[in-house]
């Protein structure tokens, strides 16, 4: 692995060396290294590109890394990854894609991830997306995440895209059964002429199921972001969506909420706030000695990573 590839892996998966647990590293449309463990099996799909990640029941405190890196231009990568999380398991899954494109041809990664979260299982899913390389070719990432959560399961989805992705369409669909609990934290930064569109659809099917979606996004320069959320309460359940956006320069953020309490006992809340960095926050940090630019960076960093 060369330096560019190593740096990409560090950025998207915090990987400095080959991980000790289960992992699958995909490079330029091909699996390059894979390791299963006695608890977590990674099986390549036979009829299409991708893998099945099978986590046995009762597996606790284990992690799986499945990073994807693309270092060439002109590649259109499509991959299907299916996760089967066994009952009573408690695992961390680290995914993400980094594109380093120094050519004038666009590279795209479409990662279709499906999660089947077993009863009483807990999953932390960390997904990071990065684009880099000074070629004029686009770096496009279009992830789709489909989640089915069984009774009493919990999932934390932490998705971050902080630099260099030319355009992204991110779709998440989830179905929650009784007492299932889903937390989604999205952190997005767009610059230049980049676009990012996010769509969440969560069906709260089960009694006492709950979802919390928090999106923190910053749009700079001429970039454009769109946040659409769609919560559907079909039982006695709770859903909360918070979309907070900071706009700088000529950027634009559009937030389109939809909440539908089909069951009268559903409690669904949507909050959205979009605007410039508050003047008093800048002034406070400047009284501590930071220049206006440093204060802006500090506020944005805290907002996205805090």
């Amino acid at each position: 692995m060369n330096n560019i590839e190593k740096k990409l892996l560090e950025k998207i998966a915090d990987l400095h060396t080959i991980p000790s647990g289960a992992f699958n590293i995909r490079k330029n449309g091909q699996a390059v290294e894979r390791q299963s463990t006695k608890d977590i099996e990674i099986i390549p799909k036979k009829n299409k590109s991708g893998i099945d990640i099978v986590i046995k029941p009762n597996v606790k405190n284990k992690s799986v890394h499945i990073p994807v890196i693309i270092t060439v231009g002109g590649l259109n990568d499509l991959v299907y990854n299916d996760f089967y999380v066994g009952e009573n398991s408690d695992v961390t899954i680290v995914a993400g894609c980094g594109i380093h494109n120094k050519t004038c041809n666009t590279s795209t990664h479409n990662g279709i991830h499906s999660f089947h979260v077993g009863k009483n299982a807990k999953v932390k899913y960390i997904e990071r997306h990065v684009g880099e390389g000074n070629g004029t070719g686009g770096k496009i990432l279009n992830p789709v995440t489909k989640i089915i959560m069984e009774e009493n399961s919990e999932m934390m989805l932490e998705t971050t895209q902080l630099e260099g992705v030319t355009s992204t369409i991110r779709k998440t669909f989830a179905k929650l059964k009784d007492n299932a609990k889903l937390n989604i934290q999205e952190n997005l930064l767009t610059t230049d002429n980049q676009t990012a569109k996010t769509y969440f659809k969560v069906d709260l099917i089960g009694k006492h199921s709950s979802v919390e979606v928090v999106s923190h996004s910053v749009a700079k320069d001429n970039s454009y972001q769109e946040f659409k959320s769609d919560l559907i309460g079909k039982n006695e359940c709770f859903g909360h969506v918070e979309c907070d956006g900071i706009v700088l320069n000529n950027s634009r953020i559009v937030s389109i909420p939809m909440i539908d309490a089909i069951d009268n006992n559903a409690s669904l809340v949507h909050e959205a706030a979009i605007g410039k960095i508050a003047g008093d926050e800048l002034i406070k940090l400047m009284t501590l000695g930071l220049s206006q630019e440093e204060a802006e960076d500090t506020i944005i960093q805290g907002f996205l990573l805090g």
Binding site: H216, D244, A278, D280, E281, I283, K284, L285, M286, T287, L288, G289, L290, S291, Q292, A295, T298, I299, Q301, G302, F303, L304, L305, G306
Partner: protein, 237 residues
């Protein structure tokens, strides 16, 4: 150390010019405590915001160690050695107590130093350093963290705009002790409170945007109007 010369500040409201501060002249000495007091609307907060550069004067000059502050931005003044604790502490989304104390002190602090800053204001570091500075903290907690940031900066001139406002269960005695212990700096405190006025080396009494008296607690007390007197007698707002 701080010299204010012929300072005026006015605003225009509905085509009418309103003079908020009129011909302010003061000279502050090193390592003294100055308390600015006066009725509501007398221009106390405006005066300290002009010193920090949060507002710009209509005319006049402010010199800090002989350097004219007029052309300097807020952060340039901060880096010369001026600190400012806000009357209404600012909240953030995502920044934590630790982050702000690190920025204030200009270094990455270890747990012990964070503990020092926070325990001085009556907070336990392990409960607070990783708390976001947001509206989940009470007004009193935010106020004390605001004070801790000034302590962490360790600057030559500290300005406190109504530090007592909203200080919850924490006692006034602790607050005044902090000011009395700041020996190696000049402190300007905007306050109505008797206990704070008592520790002043000099009190600056403002009324209708003008200085009506500069003097000791004993000198100034008879001149304070009834509404301020009430507060001084402990009948707090």
């Amino acid at each position: 150390m701080l010299k204010i010369k012929n300072l005026n500040y006015s605003i225009t409201e509905n085509d009418t010019v309103k003079n908020i501060l009129k011909d302010i002249n003061i000279e502050l000495k090193d390592n003294k405590i100055y308390v600015i007091t006066g009725p509501n609307g007398s221009g106390k907060s405006t005066l300290v915001k002009l010193i920090m550069g949060i507002k710009s004067p209509t005319s006049g000059d402010i010199f800090f160690d002989e350097k004219n502050l007029n052309p300097l931005s807020i952060n340039e003044r901060a880096n010369l050695g001026i600190s400012f604790a806000f009357q209404q502490p600012v909240t953030f989304k995502g920044l934590k107590v630790r982050d702000l104390l690190d920025i204030a002190s200009g270094k990455k602090n270890d747990f012990n130093s964070l503990c020092n800053y926070l325990s001085t204001v009556g907070l336990c570091a392990k409960d607070y350093i990783n708390r976001p500075i947001d509206d989940k903290l009470s007004g009193g907690e935010l106020k004390r963290i605001e004070l801790a940031m000034v302590l962490a900066r360790n600057t030559k001139l500290n300005i406190f705009d109504e530090p007592e406002a909203g200080i919850d269960l924490w006692s006034f005695d602790n607050l005044t002790k902090i000011f009395s212990n700041l020996k190696n700096s000049t402190n300007i405190i905007v306050s109505h409170q008797r206990k704070i006025l008592e520790i002043a080396d000099e009190i600056i009494l403002l009324k209708n945007g003008q200085i009506v008296k500069i003097g000791s607690y004993k000198d100034v007390l008879p001149m304070i109007e009834n509404n301020v007197c009430n507060k001084l007698r402990g009948e707090n707002e």
